[in-house]
């Protein structure tokens, strides 16, 4: 069930009505039932995987709790040494248990999502090495949101393991945390400590909050249906037939894909956050004006923030703060220059993060390279930083000045767009082909001679995309200046307010790229 489909809005309406007519205490049950009805409707028998995930993390959580309780009991009366030995033993046991939980939860994801990739690549390597045979290829369907809820499940057991919070004793509450229907398809990837209580607390009907949720949903629909789905037509025309395009066609397609992905993914987040807000649930932000970033690291702190946050908290820190890694860092410090000692450990931990980020997006070499592309830029930035410092000092460049910062934003924008090109192409071969073709036959006249109007979208479509983009930029600028647009609008008199609301609703209804004239375009991140 797509978040832009009419069936979703009917479903949401029914869920909202049921939620608010039930006594407060039981409202979370309505959310639970609605979420699993949503899941079953969209994914049928694959519901078994999320249920499996709920059961395993529930049991693992309780097991970790039990170990802690037993430890507290057992250490009573022990001397310091015995306590230390017991603690080490318990820590080992807890580590084993949490790893067991992680592995169990990752198995379905790895098997269903990556089996064919590894099967194909291993066969290739085998053939290259002269070992015959062919590993099987299966056509699995991915359970809805498996890449998202698996990460949420792992974050839960990891946090319980770290003692951030105690494991819940109610498996149904855990089931709601993983399967909450607004965030199951594309995230944001939730954290139990931030989301749990909000989900279980019965919220009162708040007219202002509900209407603001609906407004946010319409803003998301505007970005998705009016801007992203229109841009997608041009993008698909070029990328699906890339050998026949070059120069400005590829540049424009790349820029439009960046716009498409941002408008679509952030639009989806607005829809799901608006949906959740209607129930009184505040989901984590996933975007914060990423295109004003001065570096790619900053970009990733503003783009798909919950994924970045997950890799930071559950991959980067555990690696870089692990005992063996600390030992390694000390060794490097002792044997290498301070510069290398500072860079090397971070670079090694970052490799795992960016390899993981890449492969999380999909089982193919290009996604791995997509992750590593950002890794290389970041590491190159770290390595060349002293050099740049010296150059800029000599040239007396004001690195805090507006011009320098603007150039940094432009540089980051270019890097990000090249990354988007890699992200959208089918494979590395087509990426290199398209990248090269941008610089051959760079025919600027296509921008003015009407050639771009023959790419599946017409003059009116391009005008709508530009107007939509302007509105997105205005919203971004106002947001960056700390203006809460919804609250600002709410503060206006009813005439102004309603004119704006009507304008937004009618813009979606009239300008939306839906219906028989347009192809059905799903959400890109829903495939991950």
């Amino acid at each position: 069930m797509s978040y832009t489909s009419s069936e979703y809005f009917v479903f949401l309406l029914l869920a909202v009505v049921c939620y608010y007519i039930i006594p407060k205490k039981g409202r979370w049950v309505v959310l639970l039932l609605a979420s699993y009805a949503f899941y079953f409707y969209s994914s049928r028998k694959y519901i078994i995987f999320i249920i499996g995930s709920v059961i395993t993390i529930y049991l693992i959580g309780l097991w970790l709790n039990r170990i802690d309780v037993d430890f507290k009991e057992a250490k009573k009366g022990l001397d310091k040494e015995a306590k230390k030995a017991l603690k080490a033993k318990v820590s080992r046991k807890k580590r084993l248990v949490v790893w067991l939980g992680i592995v169990i939860n990752f198995i379905p994801l790895v098997f269903l999502k990556y089996f064919n990739f590894f099967s194909y690549e291993l066969t290739r390597v085998g053939n290259y090495m002269g070992i015959g045979g062919k590993l099987p290829i299966h056509h699995f369907l991915l359970p809805l949101g498996i890449s998202f809820y698996t990460l949420a499940a792992v974050s839960y057991i990891s946090d319980v393991y770290r003692g951030k919070y105690a494991a819940t004793r109610n498996p149904f509450k855990l089931a709601l945390f993983l399967g909450f229907f607004p965030h199951i398809v594309e995230g944001p990837i939730g954290r139990f400590d931030l989301l749990g209580e909000q989900l279980y607390e019965g919220h009162s009907f708040d007219y202002a909050r509900v209407t603001q949720g609906i407004q946010l949903m319409f803003w998301g629909l505007f970005k998705k249906l009016v801007v992203a789905d229109r841009a997608a037509i041009f993008v698909d025309t070029v990328f699906n037939d890339y050998t026949n395009y070059s120069g400005m066609y590829v540049v424009v397609a790349m820029l439009l894909y960046t716009l498409q992905l941002y408008a679509e993914f952030s639009g989806c987040m607005d829809i799901v956050m608006g949906s959740a807000e209607i129930f009184g649930v505040k989901l984590d932000k996933n975007f914060e004006r990423p295109f004003i970033s001065k570096t790619v690291s900053e970009f990733w702190r503003r783009w798909h923030m919950t994924l970045g946050g997950w890799f930071r908290d559950y991959v980067f820190y555990p690696i870089s703060l692990s005992k063996s890694f600390t030992k390694f860092s000390k060794k490097v410090k002792a044997k290498c220059s301070p510069f290398v000692a500072r860079i090397l450990p971070a670079a090694m931990a970052m490799f795992v993060v960016w390899f993981g980020t890449g492969i999380w997006h999909g089982a193919s070499l290009k996604y791995i390279m997509y992750g590593l592309y950002y890794y290389i830029i970041m590491v190159a930035g770290m390595l060349t930083e002293p050099l740049w410092c010296r150059i800029f000092d000599k040239l007396k460049v004001d690195r805090k000045g507006k011009v320098y910062r603007a150039l940094q934003v432009v540089r980051t924008f270019i890097f990000v767009n090249i990354g988007m090109l890699l992200f959208r192409t089918d494979n590395m071969g087509s990426f290199f082909h398209m990248f090269r073709s941008m610089f051959s036959n760079l025919n600027l006249s296509v921008l003015t001679d009407g050639s771009l109007l023959n790419m599946g979208i017409d003059k009116m479509d391009i005008t709508v995309i530009i107007i939509g983009l302007i509105f997105i930029i205005i919203a971004g600028v106002l947001g960056e200046r700390g203006c809460n647009i919804r609250e600002a609008v709410a503060g206006k008199n009813i005439v102004v307010r309603w004119i704006l609301y009507y304008a937004l609703v009618l813009a979606v209804l009239i300008l939306g790229a839906y219906g028989f004239n347009y192809p059905d375009i799903g959400f890109i991140y829903a495939q991950f």
Partner: protein
């Protein structure tokens, strides 16, 4: 309490305002012609909108099986009955009912030929979604035709083509090419059930009643199909026809004498008939109409001269596609469940 009442009133007024605006914009956005430039959905199936009032004797309605497997021009040429097809890919009965209502606004057909294949189309989800879409089309045409705002800014050439225009193909997809069924990759079987689903049956009752009220004979046919016919489906329709005193011709049970060779009679690997097979099917239907219903033969009538020249164009197209190799997914009719996509202009490529 007062605040709650005020909020409820505000919400109701706001929603009513939206509905009023959408309803008011409906006539503005509804197509003012049946050409592609008019912004109408499925222009090929809308020939009937352009035919002079009360001139159509036979109307064929159904899904892609009808626009592929039934030839209005063969009916004209062989029997002298004016005939149009209003077949649409993935049509559901509610859409068929909408079409019939539109047809009755200007026409008084003597016979409606209805292909029953669409009565079994889709699982529950698809049935509800497609029916809801058809309901929207009827009551809120704005939603379906929202994209016609572009016509306000269209160039003169496009504006000149916003008109009602008859066609020579009369709703048929004339394609005489051949793409045999691939035994290793035949069309997928799509059996969602053998009984007419409740939601369809209710609408079909209304459809049949509408025909009866207008004095139109409703002739049910089950076009030859590679993958959607079952004996049980035949029995369901036969029972319905008997209960409602309707005629029913099934081309799949061997009763008509029409045999389909799926290595030569299909244009797209078994999903749809080609025009040669359509001709054979149409002649059986034409014979049945001639033998059982009292229709006037209009051949030689000066008022219908245009139909003879349309037939010539039809033959030309029929002959020109003969011997061509067919293609998979030439159109995306109901067999694939996907609606026609974006109108793509000629692709601009680097020179």
């Amino acid at each position: 309490m007062k605040k709650i009442i005020v909020n409820i009133i505000k919400s109701v007024v706001f929603l009513a305002g939206i509905i009023a605006v959408v309803a008011a914009l409906g006539p503005v956005f509804t197509p003012k012609g049946n050409t592609r430039e008019s912004g109408i959905n499925n222009p090929k199936a809308k020939d009937y909108l352009a035919e002079p009032d009360n001139t159509i004797q036979v109307v064929a309605i159904g899904n892609s099986d009808i626009y592929s497997g039934f030839s209005p021009m063969e009916i004209w040429h062989n029997y002298g009955y004016t005939c149009v097809s209003a077949g649409e890919g993935a049509q559901v009965i509610y859409t068929a009912k909408n079409r019939l209502e539109e047809i009755y606004k200007n026409q008084k057909p003597d016979v409606v030929v209805f292909d029953v294949d669409e009565l079994f189309y889709g699982n529950f989800k698809v049935r509800v979604a497609k029916t809801a879409e058809a309901v929207f089309e009827k009551y809120l045409p704005f939603v379906m035709y929202h994209d016609n705002w572009k016509l306000l800014f269209a160039d003169e050439e496009t504006k000149a083509n916003i008109k009602y225009e008859t066609t020579y193909y009369k709703g048929q997809m004339i394609d005489n090419s051949v793409l045999a069924v691939d035994p290793d990759n035949p069309p997928e079987e799509c059996h969602y059930g053998d009984d007419i689903p409740y939601i369809y049956r209710k609408t079909f009752d209304e459809f049949a009643r509408m025909c009866k009220d207008h004095g139109t004979k409703l002739l049910l046919i089950y076009s030859p199909t590679y993958n959607t016919w079952t004996k049980e489906r035949h029995d369901s329709i036969a029972k319905y026809a008997e209960e409602n005193d309707l005629d029913f011709i099934d081309f799949n049970d061997g009763s008509t004498g029409v045999t389909i060779d799926w290595s030569v009679d299909t244009r797209d690997g078994g999903k749809h008939l080609n025009s040669a097979a359509a001709k054979r099917v149409t002649l059986v239907v034409g014979d049945f109409i001639k033998d059982n219903y009292d229709l006037t033969d209009n051949r030689g009538n000066d008022a219908y001269k245009q139909w003879d020249s349309d037939y010539e164009r039809y033959v030309k197209k029929y002959e020109s596609t003969k011997g061509e190799a067919g293609k998979q997914d030439v159109d995306s009719g109901d067999k694939s469940g996907k609606k026609g996509g974006r109108k793509h202009h000629d692709k601009g490529k680097e020179s």
